[in-house]
Subunit: 408 residues, 2 copies
């Protein structure tokens, strides 16, 4: 059950000039599922991408890194049902072959195609099924297929995730539209499982990487469902250069700032949507750590809380067993942490002061906060001025059910 999240209406998703998307049911793993999509990018599009830090990264991630660096990407090829990870040299060859097949149909080089896969790890990619589906996907390609594109990357997601923004730069309308998927193996360390944003903004290609990185750090790199960093995390930003304004060559110019603000905001919405639709999620939880010496230690503490199965099950039960949060802060790995300085708030309730229970704290107040669906946990370490926020969800019996059944 997604938490305060509904599917976008197709009419809310704006086409991005220079991008056409087509999808089909290729039967990669199961029949009757929209599991293959192709993105066609007009010539001159610039692409930036960030990819998983998992050392066991998937074959398509390895190819994406190579192909993005070459700087003339013209197409994406995305499949669900198979991650093509843990597949060794054979997996790499199959990913290359799928790029080659699409490139041949489009008169491109294989290196101009970015491949993306998501699904079960350590299964052989059925590349012949992907090849067989290419014509249908290409035939369907159109600028207004963003809703179908979001559907075509879903695995255990219960809802498609997509959003649009429209801003003005130099009096020209600039569009940004993005899609993303979750919903398990979510603790992105670069990007999420799969996230794509396209804009028709005019941006110097050399800036794309920095744009993608900043947006990922503000969004997908702040979420966790289960602490499992995927082998396939990929987040890609495309600028088709069609909007007609002067190219952005400085990200700190007014136009650069406007674009970054819109892009980061869109990425945050997509990232939060992944958490809201996290496997088995019933609550959306914001974990904010203040008063750290640096952001890194704030993140350590925030992720320790956000990954603790005990904390997450307590939230599921709406049980203010909040000592579990303190325990997580204590084992987060901040070597010289002084527990006597810790303050904690749950929503507006002051729970812990000077490291111990606040004298006026009563559980009924915390229980009231925990019954909500959008909950803020604030811990102040009181040893500096750094801060960091992580978004996560609770941990329910449904998470176990979903992951015990995922392949069946």
């Amino acid at each position: 059950m997604p938490v305060d999240l509904t599917a976008p209406l197709p009419s809310e998703l704006f086409a991005v000039p220079g991008v056409r998307i087509g999808s089909t049911m290729a039967g990669v793993r199961k029949v009757g599922r929209r599991d293959l999509s192709v993105w066609l990018l007009d010539e001159g599009s610039a692409v930036g991408g960030v990819f998983t830090q998992n050392r066991y990264c998937a074959a398509p991630v390895q190819l994406c890194r190579e192909h993005v660096a070459l700087g003339s990407v013209r197409a994406f090829l995305i499949n669900t049902g198979n991650a093509n990870a843990g597949t060794g040299a054979d997996g790499l060859a199959r990913a290359r072959r799928s790029c080659g097949a699409l490139a041949a149909k489009l008169g491109l080089l294989p290196e101009q195609v970015l491949p993306f896969s998501t699904g079960v790890i350590m299964e052989t990619l059925p590349v012949e099924r992907i090849e067989a589906g290419l014509d249908a996907a290409l035939l369907a390609a159109a600028p207004d297929h963003w809703f179908e594109a979001a559907q075509a990357i879903m695995t255990t997601d219960t809802l498609p995730k997509a959003a649009s923004r429209r801003i003005e730069i130099e009096g020209r309308s600039v569009t940004l539209t993005g899609i993303a998927k979750g919903a398990g193996m979510i603790r992105p360390n670069m990007a999420t499982m799969l996230g794509f944003v396209a804009t028709d903004a005019c941006v110097a290609p050399a800036l794309m990487q920095a744009l993608a990185r900043e947006a990922a750090d503000a969004s997908f790199n702040r979420i966790t469902v289960d602490g499992d960093t995927s082998t396939n995390d990929s987040f890609v930003v495309v600028a088709t250069q069609k909007a007609g304004h002067a190219p952005i060559t400085d990200l700190d110019s007014p136009a650069g700032r406007a674009l970054r603000a819109a892009l980061n905001d869109l990425a945050v919405q997509l990232a939060q949507a992944i958490v809201r639709d996290g496997e088995g999620a019933t609550k959306f939880i914001r974990v904010q750590i203040d008063g750290g010496r640096d952001e890194a230690e704030c993140r350590l503490a925030a992720y320790a809380i956000a990954h603790s199965p005990l904390v997450k099950t307590a939230f599921f039960a709406s049980d203010p067993n909040l000592g579990r949060i303190l325990a997580a802060v204590g084992y987060a790995g901040i070597a010289d942490l002084d527990q006597s300085l810790i303050e904690m708030h749950l929503g507006d309730v002051h729970v812990v002061t000077a490291g111990g229970r606040h004298p006026e704290y009563v559980e009924a107040d915390a229980a009231r906060v925990m019954k909500g669906s959008d909950i803020l946990v604030r811990v102040n370490l009181n040893r500096g001025s750094a801060t960091s926020t992580v978004w996560t969800c609770d941990f329910s019996e449904d998470y176990v059910r979903i992951n015990a059944d995922y392949r069946s």
Copy 2:
């Protein structure tokens, strides 16, 4: 449901000369539960202890560290139902008061008492109930109360955990008997929630700390249920010096080696018992990492696997979705790991070679192994000769149920 684990028979637990144990129902949190115990150690006993590395360590842990260092411990005071952690200065005062109350009844100094608490965090310790229960516990004190002692430290454990060993040193019979408890918030980083071993061996007091450390490293520091390092982990070894052999002054002497072997073996049995009775556990899983550059990186990979909710739910389902194990190895934090060198076995089944699926691997073989209750996962990193093993359990819907209900 504990995995291949039964309660010990009281007759299997040997008394340790110099140790008397009494317990009672003090109503610390709930009535009708054996929740308070007192250990009385004869004069001359030597004690070593290791305690949680959680920076949010409990008040009793803080006092234990102080009191062990003073070197004349004569009594333990143990309660369940309340962890006295996250309780600030007031919690420390209450722990001191409980030590003082027991010391006064025994004609000791408060510093000769080690306090241990386990239960809910951030609740005020009802020290008056503990004081009120002391007389009944002392009245019950006897050398043959090891079974009751194991019962008296249970929280969410389904079975008491205790075991004995008997060895010969210089023709004298030497006894070791220990108890431990789990069953959640188990990822000891020093010791487990609570573990106690007593022996009548004659050991130079200066060696006790090294003995305790080695035993903890061989046992409690290799287990995990849910990755949550407790605020109260404590593991204590007592030598009452009653066995009549010449004192051990060198841990590498034949007598020292014999004692260490028996102690480590006993500690491993107790630690594995905690995992076998892990909250919701249905399977016992040994994660062995070979071929690391050093033990530290082997432990990183082993714990990444052992903590992954996706790996643990796959084991619960007996679903050989083994790519999840590769993903965990990949995000374990080994910066320059080369995935193309990885080999993986599940039991006797060769699953992964050269980083990819073994050509002769068929899932039916892995499925057969996963249906067992005691499963060995072996991953070879092929970059060195170090090795490390971690013991864990699977992750079931019952874990969520237990932890969503723990306080109710």
